[in-house]
Every structure is written in structure tokens, then in C-alpha cells.
């Protein structure tokens, strides 16, 4: 049994990063995630990681590029507008194949938006917010415990696939306090023969680049990247199911709305409605295969995507369902968390019309 603490989501993420062997943190303050850098700043004297408050999110993500290319385990955290500023850097990092962890403790948008939680950054996270053809692994924690677990996992996956990994959380998970079990510190020793650490006599120089000026070389690079993304799609899909065994109605929800959705399922079951929840834990790769199986089942009548957006993940659900069953969307925006009662009323109305 690991150490038990009562922690805020953002602080738990920070503590998990320390225990995962993070060597460098570069970040810029933005609500609702500033507790991460504050926690790391306070804890720094007890550890030997590098911490730097950058002059902007543009600088932070490029510091991640430099630090990762130098072979270090590095992380930054931000919230929606800051994550937008990082998109160019994420594209470079994906192409240069540098392992690093980024967390977006998302808030409501667009624009400066609100500091209340939001899920409107889904497209940006899973479709590639920057330029060019790339994907990144996107983990969507729905509890303070998962802020810890996903942070450790994110570092492992980043190194395994030489890719940026995004933790797509939200202001609710980042700010809430829950009991967490912390892992033992991982003795991390990077083995990265590709890193730019100084050209020793026994090897050629290493260089890290995302520049392939000849079309044939650029296409070759893209084919390599796509092969890697395919491998990730085959191996890294993660999801959780709740009462789907006999369910006729399937709710899909991730992050904080998946918690509301569990309550919706419970209320529905009390009312005699056979409802279940499918929660993507990785929103990329997306659990399309499992959703497709459910859509194929004669038992399942309809899908409902519940989000804190104007309808984003529902597009991936519809792609997986592929017209076989009706797929409905219910969402609130602006930082408003849907209540179980309003969602259940929406679901009941739609079911009556089926």
C-alpha cells in the first residue's frame, strides 16, 4: 500500500511527476492549474529536478523540446488558452519524436473564456491542434487518483513511443480534493541513445529536427509516424465500463462528466431504465472498437454523448457507431457542469421518441 494523502488534483499531478522521475519542469502560470508549478516550486529543495517559470507558454513548450531532446524526462502544464499557444511546439515535438508530458487543465472557452472547467478543447487535443499530420496520446483522468496514475503512465508512454503525451483534465478535477494513494518513487535512468548530449568518439553526431525539405524524405517521415500512430491505436486504447452488460442505452462521457454520468446511470437504473456508461480513459486512441461492438449488439438502442462542450466527442462516437444506432448529444458550455437530473430528463425525452 502506497502513501495515502488528501490532495488537490493539480498537486497530486505534481507529486506524481516528482515520483515518476521528472527531471525538468517548464511552465507559465494560468488558472486553474497554477498549483502545479507552485507545488513543484515549494517541493524543489527536497528533490533535484530543474524548475523554470518561463516567460510564456510558447517558451515553455520549446523548453520541453530542448529538454526532451537533451534526453531528460520533462513536463509542462497549462490551461486552455495556454495550450493553444503551445500548438506549434507540440507539432514540432511530435515530428521530432520527443518524449514529454503536457497537461491541459482545461477551462471553458473559446477566447479568454472562463476559469471554470470545460471540455471544449477535445478537438484540439485529439485531432492535432497544431499543423500537419500528427497524433498524440491523450489521457483523460476523472479523479484525483487518476491525476496521479495518468501522470506516471504518461511518462512511460512518452518514452515508449517517443511521443508527446497529453493529460486532458479539467478545472474540476484539477481543483477538487480527494484521497489518493501515491506510488513509490521510480528510480528513473533514461536510456536515450538518440539524445543530443554531446557527440562522443564512439558515435556519429545526433541531431533532432522536424525539417525534411525534400518531399520524398518528408513523406517517408510521415509514413513512419503514421505507422507509429497505428501501433499506438492497436495497443493503447483504454476505457472503463459501468453497467453496460445488459444496457440498452449507452452513455459516453470522459473526465468530470463521466462522474456525473455514473450518477445518471444509477438514477436511470432506479427508474427501471437499463443504462450503462462507457468512459474513454484514452480519448486518443479512442475506444472506437468497443463502441462499434456495442452498436452491433441487438440489445443497445441508442448512444448519448454527455459533454461540457457544444458537441465534440460525439463526432467520434458517431464515427464508431457508423449510423447503426441513433446517437444523441447533450452538453453544457461556459463552465456549467450538467446535472444528472437534467441529463436524465433529456435522455427520457429522446427515448420516448425512439
Amino acid at each position: 500500500m502506497g502513501e495515502i494523502r488528501f490532495m488537490k488534483g493539480n498537486e497530486a499531478l505534481a507529486e506524481a511527476a516528482i515520483r515518476a522521475g521528472m527531471q525538468g519542469y517548464f511552465g507559465y502560470p494560468i488558472t486553474p492549474q497554477s498549483e502545479v508549478i507552485e507545488y513543484l516550486a515549494a517541493e524543489q529543495p527536497n528533490h533535484d529536478y530543474t524548475l523554470l517559470q518561463a516567460e510564456s507558454e510558447v517558451a515553455s513548450i520549446n523548453m520541453l523540446y530542448g529538454g526532451a531532446a537533451a534526453g531528460a524526462r520533462v513536463m509542462t502544464t497549462t490551461s486552455s488558452p495556454g495550450y493553444s499557444l503551445m500548438q506549434e511546439g507540440v507539432s514540432y515535438i511530435a515530428c521530432a519524436e520527443l518524449p514529454c508530458v503536457v497537461a491541459n487543465i482545461a477551462r471553458g472557452g473559446p477566447g479568454l473564456g472562463t476559469i471554470q472547467p470545460g471540455q471544449g478543447d477535445y478537438f484540439q487535443a485529439v485531432k492535432g491542434g497544431g499543423h500537419g499530420d500528427y497524433r498524440q496520446i491523450v489521457l483523460a483522468p476523472n479523479s484525483v487518483q487518476e491525476m496521479v496514475d495518468h501522470t506516471v503512465l504518461a511518462f512511460e508512454l512518452a518514452d515508449k513511443y517517443r511521443t508527446p503525451v497529453l493529460i486532458l483534465s479539467d478545472g474540476a478535477i484539477g481543483q477538487m480534493m480527494e484521497k489518493v494513494e501515491l506510488p513509490e518513487p521510480i528510480p528513473y535512468k533514461p536510456v536515450k541513445p538518440w539524445a543530443t548530449t554531446g557527440k562522443t568518439k564512439d558515435r556519429e553526431r545526433n541531431y533532432i529536427t522536424s525539417l525534411y525539405i525534400q518531399s520524398a524524405d518528408m513523406e517517408k517521415k510521415n509514413i513512419h509516424l503514421q505507422k507509429k500512430f497505428k501501433e499506438i491505436e492497436e495497443n493503447e486504447v483504454r476505457f472503463e465500463e459501468y453497467m453496460t452488460d445488459d444496457a440498452e442505452l449507452i452513455i459516453t462521457a470522459y473526465g468530470v462528466t463521466s462522474r456525473t454520468s455514473k450518477k445518471i446511470v444509477d438514477l436511470a437504473r432506479e427508474a427501471g431504465i437499463k443504462m450503462g456508461l462507457l468512459r474513454p480513459v484514452t480519448v486518443w486512441p479512442f475506444p472506437s472498437g468497443r463502441i462499434s461492438e456495442l452498436a452491433e449488439s441487438g440489445r443497445v438502442k441508442a448512444f448519448f454523448s454527455i459533454e461540457m462542450s457544444a458537441g465534440q466527442m460525439v463526432e467520434d462516437v458517431r464515427l464508431a457507431v457508423n449510423g447503426r444506432k441513433p446517437t444523441f448529444f447533450y452538453g453544457r458550455t461556459g463552465g456549467v457542469i450538467p446535472t444528472p437530473e437534467e441529463v436524465l430528463a433529456f435522455v427520457s425525452k429522446r427515448v420516448a421518441e425512439l
Partner: protein
């Protein structure tokens, strides 16, 4: 080696055999060579990590036989900051043009200098965007014609050429700031000594080192290499004076 001949001069072993893409007469090639000579002479090849962002020198990693990172446009200072912070015992340098360092990357430049990040900026200032075909840079001289200032740079609408070395030498974090050129053999030798001094300061960990090179662009300036060297003497250096602007203990 043919009998009766001996090697009296060769390029440093820290330069690769790749043929450079730089235009005839461009000072980039000279700067690559003398900086890599310094790395060789100081026996630092295995300890050096360079960062080359977007600009004509984006392919510097094809020529400099040291570990290198290619950075996004303007972000070399942020990238180099992290490299040095993660690998404090390595020699770290960025090699940036004026569009990169003084336009899109001004913020990163100023803040890295202000933090006293212990790496060397090599700032190649030719007063124009060479790679994209000769557009106006923040360092383009007043009245100078470029493809985006076809009637000459107008101070009233585009400001005056930025003097980056003078600016950064005001910052406490900067330990060494100098401006050199590569237009004459004497200036090339001075530039090489300046690079060496900058690296020595980095080894002592005294703060940021900033070396600006008054450079040329025969293609972008639409003149011959010789004319471009004359332009440096007649136009560039009077506005961008050479010399050491800041050094430790002075």
C-alpha cells in the same frame, strides 16, 4: 599526399564533409568554420550541443559535427535554455539570424539574457530575411531596399534598425556582449578570438554570452560578394559598431 607536399591548412575535424548550401560570398560559411575551429582547438566536440532555428542556418546540423537541435522559428533561446539547464556541464550555443533572434524570437532572447542563461548566442545579423528571399528585417538599415521595402525602409512606419547587442548588454544576466564581423581576414581572426573568449566565460559559468556578427547577404542585397563586403564597411559597421560592449570584471 603527393611526395614533396605537406598539409599546411585544412578544415577542422568538427566540420562535416557535406557541401554547404550557402550562397557564394556568404559569411555563414566563414563563421561555421571558425566557430568549429574553436570547438576543435578547445577539445569540446564531445561536450557541445548546438541549436539552430529557422533561417538560412537551419541546416547547420548538416555541417557542424556536434550534437545539434533544430528549433522552431524564434525559439532557439528557449530550447537552448532547457538544454543547458538539463546538461549544465555541456557547452551550449544557439546560432540564429536576425529575423529569428530580433523579430519573432525577441521575447525569448531578452528573457534568456535576463535570466543569465549560461549559453552562447551567435547572432548572425545580415539585416535581411535571406532564406525567404530578401524581405525586410528589424535590423534592415534605414532607406535600405528589400522586397518588402522596395522604396527603402521608412523609419516613420517601420521603426529604426534594432541594436540587439547594445540592448542585451544592459541586462544584468549578460556576462559578455560583443559585435564582430567576417568581412576582412583581420575581422575573421578577431571573431574567432571572440568566440573563444565567450566559450571560456561559459566554462566559468559567469552568465549569458552574446556575440553578434555583422554579416552579409549578396543574394538578398542583390549585389556581388565584393560589393556586399564594401556595404558592410560603408553602411553596416557605421550603424552597428564593432567591439566588446560588456565583459566580466569591466
Amino acid at each position: 599526399m603527393r611526395e614533396g607536399y605537406e598539409v599546411i591548412y585544412q578544415k577542422p575535424k568538427t566540420l562535416t564533409d557535406n557541401r554547404m548550401h550557402y550562397c557564394p560570398g556568404c559569411i555563414h560559411g566563414i563563421m561555421h568554420k571558425i566557430f568549429m575551429e574553436v570547438i576543435e582547438e578547445m577539445d569540446l566536440q564531445d561536450k557541445t550541443v548546438g541549436v539552430c532555428p529557422v533561417g538560412c542556418s537551419v541546416f547547420a546540423y548538416d555541417y557542424m559535427d556536434v550534437d545539434m537541435q533544430e528549433a522552431a522559428h524564434g525559439r532557439a533561446a528557449a530550447v537552448a535554455t532547457a538544454v543547458k539547464r538539463m546538461l549544465p556541464d555541456r557547452i551550449v550555443f544557439s546560432y540564429q539570424g536576425d529575423g529569428d533572434l530580433a523579430a519573432i524570437g525577441t521575447g525569448e532572447t531578452i528573457h534568456a539574457c535576463n535570466r543569465g542563461e549560461n549559453f552562447l548566442f551567435i547572432f548572425i545579423n545580415n539585416g535581411i530575411y535571406g532564406m525567404t528571399g530578401g524581405q525586410m528585417a528589424p535590423t534592415t538599415l534605414s532607406e535600405q531596399k528589400t522586397t518588402t521595402s522596395p522604396f527603402g525602409r521608412d523609419k516613420k512606419s517601420t521603426g529604426s534598425p534594432l541594436k540587439m547587442t547594445e540592448m542585451v548588454s544592459q541586462l544584468e544576466g549578460v556576462a559578455f556582449a560583443a559585435r564582430v564581423s567576417g568581412n576582412t581576414p583581420a575581422n575573421v581572426r578577431k571573431a574567432k578570438r571572440t568566440f573563444r573568449k565567450a566559450i571560456e566565460i561559459q566554462q566559468l559559468g559567469l552568465g549569458t554570452q552574446f556575440v553578434e556578427v555583422v554579416s552579409n547577404c549578396p543574394s538578398g542585397w542583390k549585389c556581388s560578394p565584393v560589393e556586399s563586403m564594401n556595404w558592410i564597411v560603408e553602411q553596416s559597421i557605421p550603424y552597428y559598431p564593432l567591439g566588446v560592449f560588456k565583459e566580466p570584471g569591466k
